[in-house]
C-alpha cells in the first residue's frame, strides 16, 4: 500500500450531508473486476447530466456546471471537504478506489460512516474527522479563496490552513502506523499465525459445529 505521511493540496468543498457510496460510485461501475479506473465515474450522477455507462469514454459527456468538481478552480483538488456521515450505505470499496483514482488523498468531514472510514485506510486515503465548527470554518475559507490549500501531517496529526492555523485530529494508532509505513496489514496479521492457529484448535474442541462443512 502507498504510504501517507504528509500532504498539501487544493481543497474542494462538497456541501452536502449523508453522501452515500451509491452517489460516490454508482452500481453500474461496480461490474469491473479491477481496482483502478474508477476516477472518471466518481460522483457520476452529480457530475454529468447524462446516464453513465461502464467502459464509456467520459471526455465527451455533458458536465453538470453546478457540481463542485466541475469548476476549474477545483479540478486539481486532492483534499475533499465534506459534511456529516460521508460514505454511508453500501460497503463497496470501489468508493475509496474512485476517490483515489480521481486524485484525492484526504477527506475531511465532521463524521464518516464506519465501513467507508475503514476502507479508506486500506487504500492509502486518509479520512479526517474535525468538529462541525472547524469544518464550517474550512468551508468558508475554501469557498472564499481560490487555490485554497490545506496541509495534512499524519505524523503530527494536524491539519494546517494557509494562515498557519492548525487543528489536531485523532486516528487509531494501528491505522496510523500502517498508513505511515504503507504496510500490508495481511502481512502484519500473519505474524500472529501461531496465535490464530492455537485459537482455532481450541475452538474446534469447544465448538465443533463451527467447523462443519455441511452435507
Amino acid at each position: 500500500m502507498r504510504a501517507f505521511t504528509q500532504h498539501q493540496g487544493i481543497v474542494a468543498p462538497m456541501d452536502r450531508s449523508n453522501v452515500d457510496t451509491d452517489m460516490i460510485i454508482p452500481k453500474q461501475f461496480l461490474k469491473s473486476i479491477k481496482r483502478t479506473g474508477f476516477g472518471p465515474n466518481l460522483f457520476d450522477e452529480l457530475r454529468y447530466l447524462d446516464e453513465g455507462k461502464p467502459d464509456q469514454d467520459c471526455a465527451g459527456r455533458p458536465l453538470n456546471p453546478d457540481f463542485v468538481l466541475n469548476q476549474d478552480r477545483y479540478k486539481n483538488a486532492s483534499v475533499l471537504l465534506a459534511r456529516a456521515n460521508f460514505g454511508c450505505g453500501s460497503s463497496r470499496e470501489h468508493a475509496p478506489w474512485a476517490l483515489d483514482d480521481f486524485g484525492f488523498r484526504v477527506i475531511i468531514a465532521p463524521s464518516f460512516a464506519d465501513i467507508f472510514y475503514n476502507n479508506c485506510f486500506k487504500n492509502g486515503l486518509l479520512p479526517i474527522v474535525l468538529n462541525e465548527e472547524v469544518v464550517d470554518k474550512l468551508f468558508k475559507e475554501a469557498e472564499a479563496n481560490e487555490g485554497y490549500q490545506l496541509t495534512v501531517d499524519l505524523e503530527a496529526k494536524t491539519v494546517t490552513t494557509p494562515s498557519g492555523e492548525s487543528f489536531g485530529f485523532d486516528v487509531d494508532d494501528f491505522r496510523r502506523h500502517c498508513l505511515l509505513n504503507g504496510l500490508d496489514d495481511i502481512g502484519v496479521t500473519l505474524e500472529d499465525a501461531d496465535t490464530i492457529r492455537a485459537y482455532e484448535e481450541a475452538r474446534r474442541k469447544t465448538a465443533p459445529w463451527l467447523f462443519n462443512a455441511g452435507n
Binding site: 451509491d22 461490474k31 450505505g89 496479521t189
Partner: protein
C-alpha cells in the same frame, strides 16, 4: 462487575489477540462471497502468492448481477458482457481455490443473506462477514455479523481474522405488541426515522423488547438487515426458542450430541440482566404505523397516515436543505399526503424482504385482486431458489401471477439495479428493499421503502394505502 451484553459475549468469544495499540484480531467463523466485491480480493491473494486460510469457512454465490429471467440458460442468459465476466470470475475463483459455490443454475443459489440462514451456514454465536453492508442481517441469529470492504475480504481469506476495534453497545428496545399489519420492516423504518441514518454509527445495536421477541426469524432478519441504514454495522437479536427452532435440521446445522452441546451454548447468547449499554433507545411498538419513505435517505420516512414534510418548518439549515433537495429529486410537494403518491412500479424482493414469510404476506394482500392498470410493472423476486420452490409448493406463484405480478428468479434484482431490472427516470417505485438513495434503483428512479404487505397493497391500488384497510 456489570454483566455482559450480547455483543460483549460475542466479541470475547472471537478475540484471538488484543494488541497494545487498542486494535484486536477477531476470528471469523464464516465468510460469504459474491461476485461484486470478491474479484479484487482473489486477485490480491494471487499477486501476493497467498492461499485461503480455511477453505470450508467460505460459501459463495452470484446474486447482484444475475438476471431474474431466462435462468435455464445459466451464465449465457446474462446479456450484459461485463456482468457476465464478473459472474464467470467468481466461478473461476471458487473452482481454483476449492470454495463451495452455489452457481447460477443451482437451486440453492440466492441472495447471500438469504441462503446463509437457509442452509444453516449461519448459526447462532458465529462471527460472519461478507463484502456487503447488509451482512448485519445474520445478527438476527445472535451472530456478530457485519459488512466489510474488499481489502478485508482478502484479509479474511488469507488470515481468517479481521483487525477490529470494539464498538460501543446500543440497545434499541421496542416495547409492547405490534398491531395487525405492522411488520419487522415497519419497525426498523420507524427506528431509523427516530435515530437517524447516522444514529448507530460506532455502535453495535441489539434489538430487544416484546415486539422484537414476538417476531419470526424472517422479521428479525429484516430488522437486523437495516441496522446499517441507521449507521450501525452490527445489528443483533438475542437467541431464543424461535432462533433454535429455525436453525434445526438445516444442511449445515449440527446434529445429535453436537446439536445438544451447541444449543446449550446458544442459550447463553443474550445480554445479562445487569449488562450496561452505552446508549438505550426505546420505542412504543403499539403505536408504530405501516411506514413509507418519502425521501432519498432511509431516515426520511413516516407513517402511511402522514404527509410529506414541509421544509419551511425545519429549523436546522442542513436538514432543511436536505429535505428541499430530496423533494426535488422525488418530485413531491411539501405537505402532500403519503396516500396521494402514485406509483409506476412495485418491487417485492431484496435481502431485506424476499423470504417465504415476506412472500406469504404479500400474497395474502393481492389474493383475488388485480394489479392497478396505472402500473407499468409489479414484480416478485424470491430470495433464493429454495424460497421460490417453497412458494410454488404453497401456490403463492399462482396468486401473484393471477393478480398480474411477475414471478421471477432469485437475485438482488431491482434493489440496486445491477442487472436488467431497473426504474426509468422519474418513476416512483414501492419497494421492499433497503435504500432509497438517488439513482439506487435506476438513473433518476424514485424509491419508496415499504413492507411486502404495503408494497402489495400499493400494487393493487396504484398508490400508497394503509394495508390494514385491505385486510378487513
Amino acid at each position: 462487575m456489570a454483566g455482559k451484553t450480547l455483543y460483549d459475549k460475542l466479541w470475547d468469544d472471537h478475540l484471538v489477540k488484543q494488541r497494545d495499540d487498542g486494535s484486536a484480531l477477531i476470528y471469523i467463523d464464516r465468510q460469504l462471497l459474491h461476485e461484486v466485491t470478491s474479484p479484487q480480493a482473489f486477485e490480491g491473494l494471487r499477486i501476493a502468492g497467498r492461499k485461503p486460510w480455511r477453505i470450508d469457512a467460505n460459501i459463495a454465490t452470484p446474486d447482484h448481477n444475475v438476471p431474474t429471467t431466462d435462468r435455464d440458460r445459466g451464465i449465457d442468459g446474462i446479456v450484459d458482457p461485463v456482468s457476465r465476466t464478473q459472474v464467470e470470475t467468481l466461478d473461476k475463483n471458487c473452482d481454483e481455490f476449492g470454495i463451495l459455490e452455489f452457481k447460477i443454475k443451482d437451486q440453492r443459489q440466492g441472495i447471500v443473506h438469504v441462503i446463509g440462514p437457509e442452509q444453516g451456514a449461519t448459526l447462532p454465536g458465529m462471527s460472519i462477514v461478507c463484502g456487503d453492508s447488509h451482512t448485519s442481517t445474520h445478527g438476527a441469529f445472535g451472530c456478530l455479523a457485519h459488512g466489510i470492504g474488499t481489502s478485508e475480504v482478502e484479509h479474511v481469506l488469507a488470515t481468517q481474522c479481521l483487525v477490529q476495534k470494539k464498538m460501543k453497545n446500543m440497545l434499541v428496545k421496542v416495547n409492547g405488541k405490534l398491531g395487525a399489519g405492522v411488520t419487522g420492516k415497519d419497525v426498523v423504518l420507524a427506528i431509523i426515522g427516530k435515530i437517524g441514518t447516522a444514529g448507530g454509527t460506532g455502535y453495535a445495536i441489539e434489538f430487544g423488547g416484546e415486539a422484537i421477541r414476538g417476531l419470526s426469524m424472517e422479521g428479525r432478519m429484516t430488522i437486523c438487515n437495516m441496522a446499517i441504514e441507521g449507521g450501525a454495522r452490527v445489528g443483533m437479536v438475542a437467541v431464543d426458542d424461535t432462533t433454535i427452532e429455525y436453525v434445526k435440521g438445516r444442511p449445515f446445522s449440527p446434529k445429535g450430541e453436537t446439536w445438544d452441546k451447541a444449543v446449550e451454548y446458544w442459550r447463553t447468547l443474550h445480554s445479562d440482566d445487569d449488562a450496561v449499554f452505552d446508549k438505550v433507545v426505546e420505542l412504543d411498538g403499539t403505536t408504530i404505523q405501516p411506514q413509507v419513505s418519502w425521501g432519498t435517505s432511509p431516515e426520511m420516512v413516516t407513517g402511511v397516515d402522514g404527509n410529506v414534510p414541509d421544509p419551511a418548518k425545519e429549523e436546522d439549515p442542513i436538514k432543511r436543505e436536505g429535505i428541499v433537495r430530496a423533494l426535488k429529486y422525488m418530485g413531491l410537494q411539501p405537505n402532500q399526503k403519503i396516500t396521494d403518491i402514485r406509483l409506476d412500479r412495485v418491487f417485492i424482493g431484496s435481502c431485506t424482504n424476499s423470504r417465504i414469510e415476506d412472500l406469504r404476506e404479500a400474497a395474502a394482500v393481492v389474493k383475488g385482486r388485480k394489479v392497478a392498470s396505472s402500473l407499468k410493472q409489479a414484480m416478485v423476486v424470491p430470495g433464493s431458489g429454495l424460497v421460490k420452490a417453497q412458494a410454488e409448493q404453497e401456490g403463492l406463484d399462482k396468486i401473484f401471477i393471477e393478480a398480474g405480478l411477475e414471478w421471477r428468479d432469485p437475485g438482488c434484482s431491482m434493489c440496486l439495479a445491477m442487472n436488467a431490472d431497473k426504474l426509468g427516470q422519474g418513476e416512483h417505485c414501492a419497494s421492499t428493499s433497503n435504500r432509497n438513495f438517488e439513482g439506487r434503483q435506476g438513473f433518476g428512479g424514485r424509491t419508496h421503502l415499504v413492507s411486502p404487505a404495503m408494497a402489495a397493497a400499493a400494487a393493487v391500488t396504484g398508490h400508497f394505502v394503509d394495508v390494514r384497510e385491505l385486510m378487513h
